[in-house]
């Protein structure tokens, strides 16, 4: 199965791929701890990444951002700045949009990838990620209720490179 899977991936290595991670309250916001969402297996180019609230967020005032822990070196860096406001009480279909910039905040938007005034654009053409783990830093506010689905659009850089759900 492993070799077949590898061969299939090699045939289609240049195709864009998406992966959708469904939120799980018990192990995500429910713990109050930072949690991992995607495992990057090989170099990939990221085209877009965002979260979608699927169950209304509870009362805890979490300030969230995305981080990346590379395998080599074993270090964790922020992928973006924290959300402009706490996510407590965010409604279903609130989107958390990463602009692709480290300096940019993870921006909350309603329903359509727009903030109250305008489009939240993707700042870079693609972001290169080496093997490692993408995680969500939930701040120090503590455990919360609610669920966020996370989506990522990417292109593998060589056969076998992929992103999987954690």
């Amino acid at each position: 199965m492993g070799q077949l899977n590898q061969a299939l991936k090699a045939l289609h290595m240049n195709e864009m791929r998406y992966i959708h991670r469904q939120g799980v309250n018990a192990t995500d916001l429910g713990t109050g701890l930072d949690y991992n969402i995607f495992n990057v297996e090989g170099d990939v180019q990221v085209h877009m990444m965002f979260g979608q609230v699927t169950t209304v967020i509870g009362a805890t005032a979490n300030l969230i951002f995305l981080n990346f822990t590379s395998l080599v070196p074993a270090a964790t860096v922020a992928l973006c700045a924290v959300t402009g406001g706490a996510i407590n009480a965010d409604a279903v279909n609130t989107l958390y949009v990463w602009s692709g910039a480290i300096a940019g905040a993870l921006t909350a938007a309603n329903n359509i990838g727009h903030s109250g005034s305008d489009l939240i654009p993707w700042a870079g053409n693609t972001i290169l990620l080496s093997p490692g783990i993408i995680g969500v830093d939930v701040g120090a506010a503590g455990a919360n209720t609610g669920e966020i689905d996370w989506y990522i659009l990417f292109t593998p850089c060589f056969p076998g490179a992929d992103i999987t759900i954690l």
Partner: protein, 161 residues
């Protein structure tokens, strides 16, 4: 590798498209439904309309999105009048809400000063209905609407309505 693990692997995707073929009755009422997003989020890469029969009256559409959960909101400012627009005119959404409304151009998708493009790479739409409201009716014009998008979940799609 378990079946669950296989199902959780990534999926190859490409840009897909949908067309809403206009009919004469469209601009005789408001709102005019264009597309519905089903099942999961999509990334819109382009949205445009093409006039197939000349518009007579001062039609001023406002593109609007109504998510299945949440409130409807305009996704562009009100368009300039479409009065006199001839077949081949193209209305291009630049992907911004506060910026220019869909801009009418000649058949090449270019305004007089240059190409009209999406302001950002992608715009996320969750499941819901895309339509336009229209304060002025018209009895002669017909516009076909096109959308290109990337599905971001299993089964996510955009259909004309």
């Amino acid at each position: 590798m378990s079946l669950t693990q296989l199902a959780e692997r990534s999926y190859q995707v490409s840009v897909k498209g949908a067309v809403n073929i206009g009919v004469l009755a469209d601009m005789q009422a408001s709102p005019v439904n264009l597309f519905r997003v089903f099942t999961g989020p999509v990334l819109v890469t382009q949205l445009w309309g093409r006039v197939t029969a000349a518009v007579t009256n001062a039609v001023v559409p406002i593109l609007t999105f109504d998510p299945d959960t949440g409130a409807a909101a305009a996704i562009a400012t009100i368009m300039l009048t479409c009065a006199g627009d001839q077949p081949g005119s193209i209305y291009i959404w630049d992907g911004s809400r506060a910026g220019a409304a869909p801009v009418v151009t000649a058949a090449l998708g270019m305004a007089a000063a240059g190409e009209t493009t999406m302001a950002g790479n992608f715009v996320i739409l969750v499941p819901g209905l895309l339509y336009y409201t229209n304060a002025v009716v018209d009895t002669t014009g017909i516009v076909d609407w096109y959308i290109n998008y990337i599905p971001m979940a299993d089964g996510a799609r955009v259909d004309p309505v």
